[in-house]
Every structure is written in C-alpha cells, then in structure tokens.
C-alpha cells in the first residue's frame, strides 16, 4: 500500500517535471531569438563532433601541407591556405572542436565552484556566508583578464590549464546569483516542513534546494560559455594557449604573427573571428531566451 503510494507520488512528480519541461520547450520554440541561436549552435556542434572526418589531422601536417603558403581562396581551398600551406577551412573546423571543448570544460568548472560557494553561503549563512561573499566580491572586483593572464603564465600552457583558469575567473557571478536564490528558497514552507520532519542538511539541499536552483544555474551556464569561448580566444591570441592544439584564438595568433594583416590575407583572418562571433552570439541569444522563460516579467518586452 505504502510502496504503491510512493511509486505513484514519484510518477506524479515525473509527469509534472516532463510537463514543465514541455511547456518550457514550447516557450523556447516561440522565441525567435532563442531558436536562431540554437540553430547556429547546432551547426557548430555538428562541425566539432565530425571535425576528424571533415578535416582529418593528416591534412594539418606542418611538414607535409597540401597547398602553397598563403594561397587565396580557390576551388580546392575554399578559404585559402595559411603560412604553411594548410587549408584554413580545415583549421577552422578543427578549431571548432578545441574552442567548444575548452568553453564547455571551463563552464563546468566555473559552475561547480559557483554553485558550491553559492549554495554553501546561502544555505548555512552566518560567518561562512560573510567569508565566502567577501571572497566572491574580491574576485568580482579584480579585473578578470589580467588575473587570467597571470594565472595562465604561472601555471603553464595546456588545454586543461586554460579551462581551469577561465573557470577560476568566471565563478563569482554564478555564486552571487545562486546564493540569492538559495536565500529565498530556504525560507519556503516545504523546506521548513522537511526540516520539521527531521531531514538532514544534505537531504534538504539535495532534494529541495538543488533541483530549484538548477534552472537558474543552467541559464547562467549558457552565458558563461560565451564568456569562456571569448576568453579562450583572447588568451590564445596573447600566446597563452595550448601550443599543441588548434583553436580559433590560436589561428588568429599565428595569422597575426605571420603578418597576414599587412599581406592582406583576409581569408586567414576573417573566418576564425567570424566563427567566434557566431558561436558567442548563439550562446548569448539562447541565454536571453532562457532568461525570458525563467523570468516571466521579461516576456512582454
């Protein structure tokens, strides 16, 4: 009897979640900006997933490049070649993989720290809150690009280092948003009820707090990916990227170093930058769309 009851409660909860998800999806589908952003991102994710098929690494060999140096676009090389004779199109496709990978990895790190700090500070309050929020404020005030540069210079060059550095400089925003949400959540009647029934802090956080801040973390995540991809490009351009992998930022770095500007080699400069703009735009547009779904007050604008 009681097993029956819990199962049906769980089933009810599941149907309710699916319904909520469906209604969010419907709202998203009606949001033109969000759909456009999602379309852009889908194209790039597919490009990144099939990068090794579309632009096999054998064609990116430094010693045995398929073309002549700095060839303008032609039927064979749609986007011309770089200073070593490699196809810029191949480089940009391979770059999609690294740029997106670093972007997602950095965001995951940033979210993890931000959510952990935000929930701990908001839920436990008191001196823990004071200390954690002080720390968050300090990180918010320090200009994040110089901090990222210094960290990357000290820790050395590598994909994980770059992702870690970006995660370290972007978590404070998430921590503040999550904390604010947790502060209102922990005063809700159902949390009080759970506490009265003897639930532990871990149970309350896991069952009531986390599921309710998750949508917020998710909406925030999308905007952080955009920042992460831009920061990766900037750090790689400044010479702090992983020397063994091709990202959009590192393509721009070598284009700049090889004098593509004064040689007028626009085909080497324009495509990687355009990819960055499109992907960041895609994430930003999706982020705004999610904000509108989660915050009904914004819908009327």
């Amino acid at each position: 009897m009681s097993a029956q009851a819990t199962r049906s409660a769980r089933a009810v909860r599941r149907t309710r979640r699916i319904e909520a998800f469906k209604s969010s999806a419907r709202l998203f589908a009606r949001n033109r900006m969000g759909v456009a952003g999602l379309a852009i991102l889908t194209v790039f994710v597919i490009l990144a997933l099939f990068a090794d098929v579309l632009a096999p690494e054998s064609r990116l060999s430094v010693t045995d490049a398929p073309g002549a140096p700095l060839e303008p676009p032609s039927a064979q090389f749609w986007l011309g070649t770089d200073e070593l004779g490699r196809s810029v199109l191949d480089l940009v496709i391979q770059g999609a993989q690294i740029s997106l990978l670093v972007g997602f990895l950095a965001t995951a790190i940033s979210m993890l720290i931000g959510a952990l700090v935000g929930i701990t500070a908001g839920y436990f309050g008191g001196w823990i809150d004071v200390i954690l929020m002080r720390l968050t404020d300090w990180f918010l005030v320090i200009p994040f690009l110089p901090l990222a540069i210094v960290l990357a210079a000290v820790l050395g060059r590598g994909l994980f280092v770059i992702a870690f550095v970006i995660g370290i400089v972007t978590w404070p925003g998430t921590a503040r948003v999550v904390r604010a949400q947790v502060l209102t959540l922990k005063e809700r009647p159902y949390v009080e009820r759970a506490r009265a029934l003897g639930a532990s802090d871990r149970q309350i956080i896991g069952r009531h707090i986390l599921p309710n801040v998750f949508p917020l973390i998710f909406a925030n995540t999308i905007l952080v990916v955009a920042v992460a991809i831009l920061t990766e490009a900037t750090l790689s351009f400044l010479g702090l990227g992983d020397p063994f992998s091709v990202s959009w930022g590192s393509i721009l770095e070598s284009a700049f170093a090889e004098g593509a500007i004064s040689l007028g080699a626009w085909w080497y400069l324009v495509p990687p930058g355009l990819c960055i703009v499109l992907v960041v735009l895609g994430f930003t547009m999706c982020g705004y769309a999610f904000d509108e779904i989660l915050d009904p007050r914004l819908r009327e604008r």
Binding site: V141, P143, L145, T234, I261
Partner: protein, 315 residues
C-alpha cells in the same frame, strides 16, 4: 572605503603567493642559461631574501611595493616601475579618448533608442550591441587595419608615431599622433559603445515612467524639453557610474587592442611580458597596477554617485 582597503590587501596577498607557486625556484629562473655554482645560487638566494621565512618575505614585499620597488624586468633589464611608468601615458591617452568617445556616442544612441522605442534605429543599435559583445576586440582591430590601413591606406597600421619625425614641428607631430590614435581608439569605442547605449536606453525608459515626468507633461511641457530637462539628467546617473567603473577595466581591456596596433602602452607591455619568458616581475607589477586601477575606479564611482545623487548621501 574599508572594502577598497580589503580588496587591495587581497590583491597584494594574491600577487605575492601566485608568483611563489611558480614551477622552479626564483633563484634558478634568474640564473638560467648560466653555469652557476651552488655557492652563487646561495648568494642570489640571500640577495633576494629567499632564505628567510615566508612571513618575513611577505612583509618585505609589502614594504618594497609601498616604496615602488617592483623588481627588475627580465626582458628590459631595467626596474619594473620605470618600464611601467614609460608605458603609462600612451595607455591613458588611448583609453581616455576611447572612454569619452564611447560615453558620448553611446549615451546619445541610448537616448534616441529609448525615445523612439521599437524604431529601426533602436533595433539596429540593440543588434549592434549584441554583435560587438560577441566580437573579440583584437579581431575587430585587425579587420579595421585590414580595411582602413592596408587596403585603403588612410591610416598607419601600427605604433604611436612615425619614426624620423622627432625634429618636426609640434603641429606635425600632433597630427601624426592623432592619425596613429584613430584606429585603435575607434576599435575600443566600437567595442564599448553597445554597452553604454543599452544602459542609457533602459535608464531613460525607467526615468520616463517617473511621476515627475508625468507632471511635467501634464503641465503642457513640450516632449523634447521634458526629455532634456527631466528625463536625461536623471537617467545619466547609471552611465556615470558605468563610465567610472569601466575606466579601471578598460586599462586591462586595451591589452589585446594595443597588441594588435603595437601601441606602446601597458597592454603591449603585457603581451611582451607574456612572450618574453614569461617576464614574471613585470607581469606581477602590471597585475598590481591593473587591479589598483579598478579598485580606485570603484571608489571613484561610489564617491561620484554620492555627490551626484542626493538620495544616496555621503559614502
């Protein structure tokens, strides 16, 4: 005020410890590429004070920093404070011109957008803001050089002055510097514009719904006059704060733009410090300066807002 001091202390602590988790010992980094005996290394260690406890080293570092002694740059073989001092003015010039330009143009676009909400100009400025946000500044700079300096040859591609003009008259030199300044400043203005326009737009829209604006309209005041006398002065407050806050951030935001244009300021210095080793003492000094700039900009924004907005009162 207390917050600013706390932040400053945090930056100093961070700066001290960050550069002490470096791979390898400082004494080895300093004597690299040289054949040295263990006794020389001990001597270098003693000279740098590395043989003393960490706490003592930290207080030494605080004292040195307060006196402006930031160590010797590896790349330039000169004191870091001197190297930074030489690069300070070009950055202040570039960032100052760009901030003034972006604030004025952005504010005007924002007012226009709010006044004619939903018009073509409004939609275009919102779209423009969205795109410039997504654009790395250094890429925008490269495109501008490619178009206006290489293809059209209207402006010089890089540096702050044309070599060989040292003996020319002051007027010629001024024009020369302005020509060099135009493209990097334009890059920063375009990159910043969208944000100012957006903030001003929402601020004006908010001010338009205030009671005193309705009163002014009810008195039969012309719309343009209402906008100029009642809406804009009140709506300017957030922009003033943003401009003050940004001032600190732009100094570091100009890092990539200066690199692209070989502008001889702090940004290009950062680029050289990264690629010259890295030049840790120089990076440490630059990080300190960038952070201090932001802390002071924050403080200035607070004080300015307290001065301009009587509701906030004294800080």
């Amino acid at each position: 005020m207390v917050g600013a001091v706390g932040t400053l202390l945090f930056v100093l602590v961070l700066n001290f410890f960050l550069f002490r988790i470096l791979p390898g010992d400082p004494e080895r980094t300093l004597t690299r590429l040289q054949r040295v005996s263990p006794s020389t290394i001990d001597e270098v260690k003693r000279e740098l004070g590395l043989d003393r406890p960490l706490a003592v080293q930290f207080f030494d570092y605080l004292g040195d920093t307060a006196r402006g002694e930031l160590g010797i740059s590896y790349v330039f073989s000169r004191p870091v404070s001197e190297v930074i001092g030489n690069a300070l003015w070009p950055t202040i010039l570039l960032v100052g011109v760009a901030t003034v330009g972006a604030t004025i143009i952005g504010t005007l676009i924002g007012i226009w957008g709010a006044w004619r909400r939903g018009s073509v100009v409004d939609a275009a400025s919102l779209g423009f803001g969205l795109i410039t946000y997504a654009m790395p500044e250094f890429w925008l700079g490269m495109l501008l050089i490619l178009g206006f300096a290489v293809a059209l040859d209207w402006f010089p591609t890089s540096f702050m002055t044309t070599p060989g003009l040292a003996d020319a008259s002051a007027g010629v030199q001024l024009v020369d510097t302005l020509e060099h300044l135009f493209l990097p400043a334009l890059t920063l203005v375009l990159a910043l514009l969208g944000e100012y326009a957006l903030i001003m737009r929402s601020s004006v829209i908010e001010a338009m719904n205030e009671d005193y604006v309705t009163t002014a309209r009810a008195k039969g005041m012309r719309e343009a006059l209402v906008l100029r006398k009642h809406v804009v002065p009140n709506a300017l407050l957030p922009v003033v704060t943003l401009a003050a806050l940004n001032l600190g951030f732009i100094v570091s935001g100009a890092i990539t733009v200066e690199t692209v244009f070989s502008w001889p300021g702090l940004g290009q210095l950062t680029f050289r410090a990264i690629n010259g080793g890295p030049d840790y003492p120089l990076l440490q000094g630059l990080f300190l300066l960038f952070s201090v700039a932001v802390i002071f900009a924050n403080l200035a924004a607070d004080l300015l807002l307290g001065l301009l907005d009587p509701r906030i009162g004294r800080v």
